[in-house]
Amino acid sequence: MMPELGKYAGAVLSAYGASLGLIVVLVAASLWRARRVKAQLAAVEARRTEGAPQ
Amino acid sequence: MIALLIRDLKLALRAGGGFGLGLAFFLIVTVLVPFAVGPETGLLARIAPGILWLGALLACLLSLDRIFALDWEDGTLDLMATAPLPMEAIVTLKALAHWLTTGLPLVLAAPLFGLLMSLPGEGYLWLVLSLAIGTPALSVLGTFGAALTVGLKRGGLLLSLLVLPLYVPTLIFGAEVARRGAQGLAVEAPLLLLAGITCGSIALLPFASAAVLRVNLR
């Protein structure tokens, strides 16, 4: 299934590897931070509604 | 207005700084380059105009954080913001004081350093001219960077990071003038572009700097 890349296989593969790797890192970091901040905010909001005078 | 300029110059002189030290730094960079790249005259002569421009730029850069940091720390900037001086004037005067204490001495001393770097004979005029036209832009841009980072404790390196990309066009055209001059080529085009950048920066950037400074004082 792998296409014949010839003598440039290293270059092409490393270009794809590096780029996709970077994109994956960026996406993972964004998702991770999104989750964390969402959870933290939920905690703070919960504390607020609890403690707030009615 | 003039009082602020005079005060800044006085402070630069008294603080054991100003004139002497900018020059000294320039000198030392020029001296270190041969140590770093080796002493062949041919090689040095080729890189001389560029390295001299680079040295001038770094000397400028190093003294940028003086522009506002001291006045910020001791509260003078707050007091000045409430004084009857428009912020734009303050910023412009600060840039002028910086140029007078750093840029001007560099321009005057450049031929001497050219000698150290075996600059070819035709190069001197153009080197000096390009520095004279280019360094004001460096001061004005630097003032903008200093205004951006004034609230941040010891923003020195951040300042460099922000300012250096802004310096790129000036450096390219300035070094190009000096290099072409040294090789006896035509210099009109880069010289005009350099002058354009300087005029543009002087005309427009003080407004940006003043705005930024006002935000930082909030």
Binding site: R48, T49, A52, P53, Q54 | I2, A3, L4, R7, K10, L11, R14, A15, D71, E73, D74, G75, T76, L77, D78, L79, M80, A81, T82, A83, P84, L85, L217, R218
Partner: protein, 206 residues
């Protein structure tokens, strides 16, 4: 000429600290602000001096009439006492600095570099700056810090002379200055966390 504050709300670091503050000062009057540490006096004075925008409310006086003195004095260590004062006099376009020097007992120190002054001497120099601004409304943040008893009295005299000449003074302080002036305690105006469901700003995260 007067200074009127109406329903002022102020914030520091994006957080409201005081709200609903109103008072007014007429020519010849002084007002002393009191309140515990961290209540927001400095923030209030900075807002009145025009260094930061208020959250809400109005400040009647023109910024051009106000002379502000902060916690920090803005003194240059390498300039002499005289040079420091002359600089401010030039900036404000007023001429003579002798009354200021005399008013704060600095005549003996004129030629000394300001960096070599003691804490209290520096403060006196900082206060002398007010007299060369020639501005009618003094806005002072803890002016008597580090001053000895005699210097506090000098300061009180200077304020009284300023008031007698039709000036005004707004002073935040923790200690007694020996001035007869109204006192305003800002503690009741402390901004409280808004109640549930009460979102008093346009943007939902404020």
């Amino acid at each position: 000429m007067s200074l009127t504050i109406k329903d002022l709300a102020i914030a520091r670091g994006g957080i409201p600290v005081l709200r609903g503050l109103s008072f007014s000062l007429a020519a010849g009057e002084a007002l002393i602000l009191r309140g515990p540490n961290g209540i927001g006096k400095t923030t209030l004075l900075r807002t009145i001096a025009g260094l930061q925008p208020p959250l809400a409310g109005e400040i009647s006086a023109d910024r051009e009439l106000i002379a502000y003195a902060a916690h920090a004095d803005g003194i240059k260590a390498t300039l002499s006492v005289e040079e420091n004062l002359r600089f401010w006099a030039a900036i404000y376009g007023t001429g003579d600095i002798t009354p200021a020097l005399e008013g704060f007992d600095l005549t003996k120190l004129t030629d000394r570099p300001a960096g070599g002054l003691s804490a209290g001497q520096k403060r006196r120099l900082g206060l002398a700056r007010l007299m060369v601004t020639g501005r009618p409304i003094w806005v002072l943040d803890e002016p008597t810090v580090s001053l000895d008893v005699a210097s506090v009295a000098l300061f009180a005299q200077a304020v009284q002379r300023h008031l007698a000449g039709g000036g005004m003074a707004l002073i935040a302080t923790h200690i007694d200055l020996g001035l007869d002036a109204q006192v305003l305690d800002v503690t009741p105006f402390k901004a409280r966390a808004p109640l549930r469901g009460e979102d008093d700003f346009d943007e939902a995260f404020l």
